[in-house]
């Protein structure tokens, strides 16, 4: 469904990605794990067109989308829920959701209205607070809103950047369970998560990103069992591994 081939990208003079190649198959949950600043978020930003790739190609649904602009990519079916939620705080919850459907044509008005109801059923809290300003929601509710806003564009591929950042562990767990449910409904997910263990538990496959490169890839099971991954990202002490 999505395939990146030797993507380079930079912020000004700082090269952030060096030859990233990865793919996400239809119906998969794929996760990118790695330290802060490794290039995970940049990878998502390149895919959603916010940053231009310096070289390399991006293919989505058998089309070369490398030079597409963000709006066109949203219409093609890529939703990117950014790190830190980035909801529109001084607009209402419902306005935020409606803006999520901004890229869809007017002719889908009825469909959009029923999708809005579907999001309210999925997240009843958002329905309760639909007339409130989005900025007044709690962190967990804001993350729900950011996800629901992304879903309002009817994506095929959902990209989540650090969704559990700043959430209480129980809320983060509920959120990831919701992501699993979305996959069962047919959505493909590319998940960036600082909580590597939680991400690998729900993912099918994973990539390990270090200083702008992919250093390791494999099934989630293999990565969870990999001693290097355990040492660097799953918080196991050296001692445990050698014992």
């Amino acid at each position: 469904m999505l395939r990146l081939t030797s993507i380079d990208a930079s912020y000004g003079r700082v090269q952030a990605l060096r030859g990233i190649s990865l793919h996400v198959g239809e119906g998969e949950i794929v996760t990118l794990i790695g330290a802060n600043g490794a290039g995970k978020s940049t990878t998502l930003e390149v895919i959603s067109g916010l940053i231009r790739a310096g070289s390399g190609t991006i293919a989505f649904d058998d089309q070369d989308v490398t030079s597409w602009r963000p709006g066109r990519l949203v219409r093609a079916g890529i939703a990117h829920v950014p790190e830190g939620r980035e909801i529109f705080g001084s607009l209402t919850v419902e306005d935020n959701l409606m803006l999520g459907s901004y890229s869809r044509p007017r002719s889908e008005r009825e469909q959009i209205a029923s999708d809005l109801q579907a999001q309210y059923e999925r997240f009843p809290r958002l329905h309760e607070r639909r007339r409130q300003l989005a900025g007044s929601l709690s962190g967990g509710e804001q993350q729900m809103l950011a996800l629901a806003r992304g879903l309002m564009s009817r994506p095929k591929l959902l990209m989540l950047d650090e969704p559990s950042l700043g959430l209480a562990p129980i809320i983060a767990q509920q959120f990831l369970a919701e992501v699993q449910k979305l996959r069962e409904e047919g959505l493909t997910v590319l998940l960036v998560e600082q909580n590597a263990r939680a991400a690998l538990r729900i993912a099918d496959r994973g990539y390990v990103v270090e200083t702008g490169r992919i250093v390791l890839e494999g099934t989630a099971r293999d990565l969870l069992d990999n001693p290097e991954v355990q040492r660097a990202y799953l918080g196991r002490a050296y001692g445990e591994i050698w014992e």
Partner: protein
């Protein structure tokens, strides 16, 4: 100095203030979309008045049609300004873009002086010259047109931003351009919208003001600066603040000119500007940050 005189100054101040309010609204529209102070805003006002006056005097059109044409042409000028001058430089810093608008303002004024020459263009009052007496003070019917146009335009703008998806998308861009793009909102299109609306609002101000002050190729400079002062006074980027700032500034000017000396009329706006920047840089209704 009698109370009736003060009341008189207050009413005439409200009239000028209404125009400042509309100009301030134009500044806020572009500022929210781009972070740029569009110093060509005053030229939109000039164009509104000049085109209407020409359309009536030279082409013999009725007022409503002339006004419509003036708003349409000015809106196109606003769009061209965006496409030809702002968009090619959109990756430059805000300061560069502001200087571009200063250049565009000089360019439009120069073009206007070539097209229309240096003479003032009179525009007849919309509904006669008969004065209206309100509690002892007299105002012209045209003053009511100015205040009415301000009110109606402000209401339309409010409705656009509160109830239409495009208006909300423009607000979303001002709040968080990054997230707006991820919703599929094209920033460049929103910037075009903001220039178009700002130009239309400016033209409306110019049209209703022209019968009072006469239209001339160079009226845009001072009106633009006054509108800018009003926008700062009300809180840059805050629509309601701009309206309030315009009205307050107009009244202060009229009172200052009447009670102190009419020599200082133009200076008052700038004294207000300096005081606001020193004491409350975010303006009367402004908050920290650019959120509308």
């Amino acid at each position: 100095m009698t109370a009736v005189q003060v009341w008189q100054f207050f009413l005439s101040g409200l009239t000028t203030g209404g125009t400042y309010a509309l100009i301030a609204l134009g500044f806020s529209l572009v500022y929210n979309a781009t972070g740029v102070i569009n110093f060509a805003q005053g030229e939109f006002v000039m164009l509104g008045g000049m085109i209407t006056a020409t359309a009536i005097a030279a082409w013999g059109l009725p007022l409503w049609l002339a006004a419509l044409i003036a708003v349409a042409i000015t809106t196109v000028v606003g769009l061209v300004l965006d496409r030809a001058a702002i968009r090619p430089a959109r990756h430059s810093s805000v300061v560069v873009l502001i200087i571009i608008t200063v250049g565009a303002s000089i360019f439009i004024r120069g073009l206007a002086s070539i097209i229309w020459g240096p003479n003032e263009r009179p525009l007849p009052a919309f509904s006669g010259e008969a004065p209206i007496v309100i509690f002892g003070a007299t105002i012209t019917a045209q003053s009511l047109w100015v205040l009415g146009a301000t009110l109606v335009t402000a209401l339309i703008m409010w409705a656009i931003f509160e109830y239409t998806i495009v208006g909300k998308a423009m607000r979303a861009c001002a709040i968080n351009p990054h997230a707006a793009q991820l919703c599929g909102i094209e920033l460049s299109r929103m910037v075009s919208w903001s220039f178009a609306l700002a130009a239309a609002v400016g033209a409306i101000a110019g049209i209703v003001l022209a019968p009072i002050t006469m239209a001339q190729y160079n009226v845009g400079t001072m009106l633009g600066l006054k509108g800018f002062c009003a926008a700062i006074l009300g809180g840059l980027g805050n629509g309601l603040g701009g309206i309030l700032g315009g009205l307050v500034l107009g009244v202060l000017e009229a009172l200052g000119a009447g009670l102190v000396s009419s020599q200082y009329k133009d200076a008052i706006a700038f004294i207000v500007l300096i005081i606001v920047l020193l004491i409350r840089p975010s303006g009367l209704l402004g908050r920290e940050g650019g959120d509308p």
